[in-house]
């Protein structure tokens, strides 16, 4: 690829051309595994409680189940720096899709948010004759890349079905206020407050990072970034944002969507068990883990990280295998919470069924397929703090 747009965002996102963009942050995720929708109020309160973990240069939210009236349409949230960008992107969208609705994302004037870009949303249907033999997802992915890399001053925040990303420069609670998130209902909310160290911060650079209906919130700095990126390049991914988050999103996309691995197995790739642990496992499990490390060693995420990954119907929390970044999990009935700090969970839900710190590399998975109230605890064992 390599259009004017890509170069443009590369320079915006990584203005000093560092190896990559370094940032740390606060994470929060909340999911009702029975599928019941709830407002963003608690998520906003919780992430605001971790205000000190960010520095006001990025805040964002992912919401799932917020557009039930357009559940079968691809919901595009697109940011524009000017009207020309909007016109160019919209003509591209109109060529490629049947547009069910196009409108500005409702906002509220707030003092904290300065110079916001235009943010529009579109509910789109893939025209069958436009498939070009690609699956709908691949087609959408191609169009997203086309806008991000080819249309100057336009950037797609999210492009999945019945989900959306709201993000920008500011503290997360200010972003929530600006986008009126208290007015939305969803069954799964994730939130992020950012502390970038080497960029000024821009709206597209805030988390969550999203492709299709996958969103990634990330806290950490991956020391394996260089090889993770080079490995993904072999499979045609272009890491234009130069962030750990982008690499994680592409790794998950490769492993889940293209290689059809379940998310538990993906966790064993990204935070692979230690060899000393594999040696103690039984034959079949040891063989699986050995094979995964042999084949996907270049996707091991090394160095400190916590991620909250979500897609339709599922939320996953994961730390690096020696847990160098914090993650607390908690449950209450059908609710699953993931947070950088336990206090943020306790603030919105003082009476929890359980709260615990997962083991390093152990995925905590909330899923609509397996509502919490009807199953065994999400973690295999309770770890001590």
């Amino acid at each position: 690829m390599g259009g004017k747009g890509m170069d443009h965002w590369e320079r915006v996102n990584n203005p000093y051309d560092d190896d990559k963009v370094i940032a740390a942050c606060s994470l929060f995720g909340m999911m009702d595994t029975s599928g019941k929708r709830f407002s963003g109020g608690d998520t906003i309160t919780a992430i605001a409680n971790m205000h000190e973990r960010g520095n006001g240069l990025g805040g964002g939210f992912a919401v799932y189940g917020l557009y039930p009236q357009y559940a079968e349409h691809y919901a595009f949230h697109v940011m524009y720096l000017d009207e020309a960008a909007r016109r160019e992107a919209e003509s591209l969208l109109q060529d490629g899709f049947r547009v069910a609705l196009a409108e500005p994302v409702p906002t509220r004037k707030t003092r904290a948010i300065e110079n916001p870009p235009l943010v529009w949303r579109y509910f789109l249907e893939v025209r069958t004759q436009n498939g070009q033999g690609l699956s709908h997802d691949d087609y959408v992915l191609e169009k997203v890349m086309q806008i991000n890399t080819g249309v100057r001053n336009a950037f797609v925040f999210s492009s999945g079905k019945d989900m959306a990303v709201f993000k920008g420069v500011g503290y997360p609670e200010d972003i929530a206020d600006y986008f009126r998130l208290d007015e939305y209902q969803g069954y799964l909310w994730t939130a992020h407050g950012r502390f970038p160290t080497n960029t000024r911060g821009w709206w597209g650079g805030a988390h969550p990072f999203s492709i299709l209906d996958w969103t990634v919130n990330h806290n950490g700095e991956i020391s394996s970034y260089g090889i993770n990126r080079r490995y993904l390049e072999m499979f045609g991914y272009h890491c234009t944002m130069q962030t750990d988050t982008e690499v994680i999103a592409y790794a998950v996309d490769l492993l889940v969507r293209r290689h059809h691995l379940p998310i538990e197995v993906v966790a064993d790739v990204l935070a692979a068990p230690l060899w000393s642990q594999i040696e103690r496992e039984d034959g079949e499990k040891a063989a699986l883990h050995t094979t995964l490390r042999q084949v996907y060693g270049s996707l091991l995420l090394n160095g400190p990280f916590t991620v909250v990954i979500a897609h339709q119907g599922e939320m996953i929390g994961l730390t690096d295998r020696i847990r160098l970044r914090p993650l607390t999990a908690a449950t209450k009935g059908d609710l699953l919470f993931l947070s950088s700090e336990e206090s943020a969970i306790r603030l919105v839900c003082p009476q929890l069924d359980r709260a615990w710190i997962p083991m390093g590399g152990e995925p905590i998975i909330g899923s609509l397929q397996r509502p919490l109230a009807k199953r065994e605890p999400v973690a295999v064992e309770e770890a001590t703090a």
């Binding site: 042999q294 084949v295 270049s298």
Partner: protein, 501 residues
């Protein structure tokens, strides 16, 4: 003929310390020391001294020092002393100038222009004394993806044979004949103990070493010496030797004088005959021929072990390596400009090939561009001096490295370059039964294991500093390297940014 060559070294013998015990006389296999019974004094024959330090190390009273002969020629940038003396040697002997060990010319050593990263503030360094640190490496072909049974989620993918090593350092090919059995046994035992492999070179596998065969790499070279079904069956993996960094484009030459009965039996050739391996493999004149040999060896061993192809790093290494992978090589070994040898024509050793650093970078990059990097492991060879070189090679894209000279130095070698004479005073590059006894496999194995242990600890320290706790996260991770004092072109080939950027 009177030689016009001046002595290369000066022997300082401190009379007040010398007790005329004659240790130096007995230790020197080049006759640089002799005892004069009449005067009860030791005399020096400096023209014979090769600067190997055997006498100095073993002198019980430290009465000996060896230093370069300061004798100077009139300075001349073009006519350096080395060129003058090469002509003297050739005019007195005729023939090809022979030498040993690796290229000693001042070509840029890129390792010395690459610097490693360390974590500060934004991510923590990892302390290998307190946290796990994984060096385990698997050599062999990897598929593009892992496939699970959709219903049972059980593993469907069966990997091609893999070879696990505990430390990413293997011993490169050194044949019985070039080195003696005590040296091979030292390396075999060290490899077994340290969890790595030794390479028997093109001289066959001696019967006494079959018990270490699970840690042996066996070579199939152009002379096919010592190749038979059992030799292939017992090995951990097989290496097809196309070329060697010290002498790209030419074959090996073991002089008949070194071919003892035992060497002859192992090589399956008559004793006392020169063992000449042809320059090319005469059944490989093209890439499709290589594919045939690779698959012939895989068939012969029932697809139970990887097949490696070793080439000298030359101008088109990237394209050649890509062809090798497509021809079915599971491992490719690249031997760089500074790769060592027991004997090579000096002109070849000093002027043919390219530095291993550039070869690793260009081969790794090319295989990635073609999306086939996972289909073969890369072992890099050629002048690795310490664990930092190893770490840098892996960051550039190698899976593991071969060391030859470094392992021999652990056994006593001082890189005096006399290997082709067969008179190695340290008892390494010689099959002389008396000299060979100077390497005791019990002590030799211990020294080499110690070296690998030291390097492992250092590699773990460097990894931990970078915030990495598994070697696979460093492999090909060039963001952990920065260049100093390199041109843009060099940085571009290495795929490394300038320090400060």
């Amino acid at each position: 003929m009177k030689t016009y060559l001046p002595p290369r070294f000066v022997i300082d013998r401190y009379a007040e310390r010398c007790i005329a015990c004659q240790v130096c006389v007995r230790q020197c296999s080049f006759d640089a020391h002799a005892y004069d019974g009449e005067d009860d004094e030791i005399r020096s024959y400096e023209k014979n001294c090769v600067g190997c330090h055997r006498c100095s190390v073993f002198c019980p009273t430290q009465a000996l020092n060896i230093r370069l002969n300061p004798l100077s020629y009139r300075p001349n940038v073009n006519w350096q002393p080395e060129f003058i003396e090469d002509i003297i040697r050739q005019s007195e002997g005729g023939g090809v100038l022979l030498t040993g060990m690796g290229n000693d010319k001042p070509y840029r050593v890129y390792w010395d222009h690459l610097l490693l990263n360390a974590s500060q503030v934004t991510n923590p360094s990892i302390d290998p004394l307190r946290e796990p640190m994984e060096l385990k490496t698997f050599l062999g072909r990897k598929p593009d993806r892992v496939e699970l049974d959709p219903a049972s989620l059980s593993l469907k993918t069966q990997l091609a044979p893999q070879v696990a090593i505990d430390v990413p350092v293997l011993f490169s090919a050194m044949s019985y004949g070039a080195i003696n059995l005590n040296v091979q046994e030292s390396l075999a035992r060290a490899a077994t103990e340290a969890g790595t492999l030794f390479n028997v070179g093109e001289g066959g596998l001696h019967q006494t070493l079959y018990k270490y065969a699970n840690n042996a790499i066996v070579q199939v070279a152009s002379g096919r010496f010592g190749v038979h079904p059992e030799y292939l069956d017992v090995a951990r993996f097989i290496e097809i030797k196309i070329g060697q960094g010290a002498k790209p484009g030419i074959g090996g030459h073991l002089p008949g004088g070194k071919v003892s009965e035992d060497v002859a039996e192992t090589r399956m050739i008559p004793a006392g005959t020169d063992a000449l391996s042809p320059a090319p493999q005469h059944d490989i004149y093209s890439i499709e021929d290589l594919a045939q040999l690779i698959y012939a060896l895989k068939e012969a061993t029932n697809y139970t072990k990887p097949v490696c192809v070793k080439i000298a790093a030359v101008h088109n290494s990237a394209a050649i390596a890509s062809g090798m992978v497509r021809a079915g090589a599971d491992i490719i070994a690249l031997d760089g400009l500074r790769g060592s040898t027991g004997a090579a024509p000096k002109m070849i050793r000093d002027n043919v090939g390219i530095p291993i650093e550039l070869a690793i970078a260009s081969v790794d990059t090319r295989l990635r561009e073609e999306g086939i990097r996972n289909q073969a492991s890369i072992i890099a060879a050629g002048g690795f001096r310490n664990s930092a070189d190893v770490v840098k090679a892996i960051a550039l894209g190698a899976d593991a490295v071969y060391i030859g000279t470094a392992a021999l130095i652990a056994l006593g070698c001082t890189v005096c370059q006399q290997c082709p004479t067969g008179k190695c005073a340290w008892g390494i590059a010689t099959t002389d039964p008396i000299l060979s006894k100077r390497v005791n496999p019990d002590i030799g194995a211990r020294r080499v294991v110690n070296l690998l242990r030291g390097w492992s600890l250092e590699i773990k320290e460097m990894l931990g500093g970078m915030g990495i706790n598994a070697l696979e996260s460093l492999r090909g991770n060039r963001l952990h390297l920065r260049g100093v004092d390199l041109t843009d072109g060099e940085l571009d080939v290495l795929g490394v940014r300038l320090a400060g950027r």
